[in-house]
Point group: C2
Chain length 189, copies 2
């Protein structure tokens, strides 16, 4: 995986989560941004766009993680596109950079054969087997962080511990590990 | 209250919430953005910026609500600045537009006498009297929406109902009404 060059000396990751309401992609983006900034010493911006077409349709959360301050927070071309909803796949696939990585929930999204660099896991199904589909977003995060290294595993764990309710931390940690195991080619459960 | 002109025929509201972790300003911004887009037919963008300095310090959530698509989602000059933390007041007060409105939690923020267009309410105290300080952000939202009309009361109520857990909807509605009553000069409780 490659990140795009930024204006400064460092690197910039441009990440888009595409899904539908209730899948927790806003929280996924926020956890990634906080992990980068608060625990890995980077700059991060998280943007949600709401338009009239968003009612029940595909929605997105963009996250930019950079060694330098972020000038322009919209993601025009994504280094990583994580999609959990077929309509979001159709809407956002063209924003993926030529060398970019597409991550899909294989239980919910059918990617076209012409797409390159597609990988994924049945995140929703894994979350259900762990006990609650609300951690689908954390399964995806575990996968994404393991595949890309955009933030450290310690950083994303610290962001989760600082953000979610105490009673769900244990479930979130298992979801994160399940996603990471899938990214390493191991049985996630 | 005035909104700034946008590039198109309509108007644009640039709103910044400044606070500290745990005050729920990210959710406040998100509710406002969803109210505008999903229920009032406008465009909205919500942006959170995370930097290494954010650890325990002032943080912000920017919301832009417009009749037209939003080209640039950062708020450079705010039409409305709502601050719930003294350090956030100090950090962001200079971003307020000349005719802009500053809203403060009067229990937590002391504004300078030189500031114009400052108004506010003891939002945290009101939330505690309603039963839980976690609805401080909704008290502020009720005040802001009543003062500015940036979104309709129906829209913000619908966004809350669609977003929060069923068991807290009633408390949130009372918090929203308390903020609105304060904005109308009535006893909030």
């Amino acid at each position: 995986m490659t990140a795009s060059a930024s204006n400064g000396a460092g690197t910039t990751w441009r990440i888009r989560f595409g899904g539908v309401g209730g899948q927790g992609i806003v929280l996924a983006g926020r956890l990634l941004g906080q992990a980068a900034a608060l625990h890995d010493g980077k700059e991060a911006v998280c943007t949600q766009t709401y338009g009239p077409e968003a009612r029940g349709g595909a929605s997105r959360t963009d996250v930019i993680v950079s060694d330098d301050p972020v000038d322009y927070p919209f993601v025009i071309e994504a280094d990583v596109l994580a999609v959990l909803f077929q309509e979001a796949y159709a809407k956002y696939r063209d924003c993926l950079a030529p060398e970019g990585l597409m991550i899909i929930d294989t239980g919910l999204v059918n990617a076209d054969n012409s797409d390159e660099n597609v990988c994924g896991l049945p995140a929703t199904e894994i979350a259900e087997k762990l006990g609650n589909r609300v951690v689908t977003n954390v399964v995806i995060l575990g996968y994404l962080v393991e595949k890309t290294g955009v933030v450290s595993r310690d950083a994303i764990e610290a962001a989760i511990r600082a953000t979610v309710k105490p009673k769900v931390i244990d479930l979130d940690m298992r979801a994160l590990e399940a996603g990471a195991r899938a990214a390493r080619g191991e049985d996630p459960l």
